[in-house]
Symmetry: C2
Subunit: 294 residues, 2 copies
């Protein structure tokens, strides 16, 4: 398989079905609906749904079965970006070259659009036509990863670390494990739950998710120092400007690269219990994370 | 039964157990946890959980069975207040005599505390030790009522109606049916689902919830004109000040009172299929809604 083509096709697949999971336009308050739709449209690589579908397939499941879960994950990711971009949080006016939701609409609508998407994700999981037991397992997994034991906590930690130079490696790992790692891990694992994975497979995929999540953040930090703005589509150097403690501050650029490669090697190693042809997408996705720029 | 005593006991019951449904304090980012706890502590009458428990009991269920649902409902209600109070929304600094969450902490923490509570509500429902089928039914009911087909949409509609003098009765009803009515209705209905209510009972209780939700808002509008600030614990006259179209604008004070009483009479009528001793709490709660001040 050719990874670029695979990622492109999967992204297009998600882009093609995600709007089907929105309710009908309401009689009043249509701006909410427009803000939700807009936020989903200016979305990125659809990494979480792609990992979810791949997790389902590696476990022997059918891609279609995991679609509502993949969509719910992307909605949760999207809501988190809408809220993170708010003036009271990161105060970002642009994301991937488009005005952020609060900038395009207004702050109140952006807050509500985020709330709507988080809520909608759980509605989709509840209404999904699948075994109730599996639905509950998936909701537990995603709920824990997204909430105050996961992503929301990570964002809070990240804010509390802002401007502090005494952030330890332990704290830094804790921040990113929760802020980005948890939902990435839940994406692979929840897909695998749908696919019928056994305990051993789930454990391996959880390990895989945690490691690629970790590597992903390290690479982000490295690219903020050595990346090419035009390729990344975002400003570099902002961590240094904000005196932010990152994996580069702690490991140095070369040390951080090595740490990322080590994590990816381990992630790939953890897939070894799956058949070679089955594990190819997740292996290549892992490799891609460290190779995207260096 | 004496309603005041009943409401007091139920409120104390909820106050006594709601914190048990929070996760352990995290190693970092503890301000999030504190903001969540604070927001739950300065809570009000616990109307939604009380309705949920009463809905369970009228359907013949055991109170304890519905506790996680009651808690989840209160968390969703609390998150909605946190977000509604934000500067970008209603910009309220005080609620029931206490600083609002954003004022007590900061805006970013308040946004995240709201997100955390909404997410936590669904986690609680997913992790609740009960039949998966019933859990799914309850999540569908609450998810629809809370999200972009319910409460979140209602808040958006309310904002879009602000400052407009051309709001029709149809639009006004639509706003409040979604903004407050939907979650009140879901509280009674989801409790009844847990209690094992049949289709006919659910229909009757849904009607009851919609009608008390409607009456509740009319009474709120009336009290904003004729209420006693010291008894209400909040400023009156703000609707007039903001040129807000309310049920009083449309019906007049006396007309609005009549409309509320009519709705409550119908709500009580809809309970007639339950045995007399079973329906007493919901009857008295309904009556209380219109009698709280006039």
């Amino acid at each position: 398989m050719e990874l670029k083509q695979y990622l492109k096709e999967r992204k297009e697949f998600i882009d093609g079905i995600i709007y089907n999971f929105l309710p009908d336009k309401p009689a009043y308050g249509t701006k909410l609906y427009e803000a939700v739709e807009y936020s989903l449209t200016v979305g990125g690589k659809r990494l979480r749904p792609i990992l979810c579908l791949a997790g389902c397939e590696i476990a022997g499941g059918k891609l279609d079965d995991a679609v509502p879960v993949a969509v719910a994950l992307e909605m949760i990711h999207t809501y988190s970006l809408i809220h993170d971009d708010l003036p009271a949080m990161d105060n970002d006016e642009l994301r991937r070259g488009h005005p952020t939701t609060w900038k395009k609409f207004d702050e109140a609508t952006a807050i509500l659009a985020g709330d709507a998407l988080l809520n909608r994700a759980f509605e989709i999981l509840a209404e999904w036509d699948f075994s109730p037991e599996i639905k509950i397992e998936v909701m537990k997994e995603i709920g824990k990863a997204a909430g105050m034991r996961g992503m929301v906590l990570g964002q809070q930690c990240d804010m509390e670390a802002e401007g502090r130079s005494d952030v330890s490696l332990d704290e830094l790992k804790y921040i990113h494990k929760h802020k980005t790692g948890a939902l990435i891990t839940a994406s692979v694992v929840s897909g695998a739950v749908v696919g019928g994975a056994n305990k051993e497979s789930l454990k391996a995929l959880r390990r895989y998710g945690e490691l690629i999540g970790y590597a992903f953040q390290i690479v982000d930090d490295v690219l903020d120092v050595v990346g090419d703005e035009s390729k990344l589509g975002k400003k570099v150097g902002s961590d240094l400007e904000n005196n932010k403690v990152t994996f580069v501050t702690i490991f140095g650029v070369e040390g951080a690269k090595k740490e990322a490669v080590k994590a990816i090697d381990e992630a790939i190693e953890s897939l070894k219990l799956f058949k070679k042809e089955k594990r190819e997408p997740l292996e290549k996705i892992a490799r891609f994370i460290v190779e995207r720029e260096f």
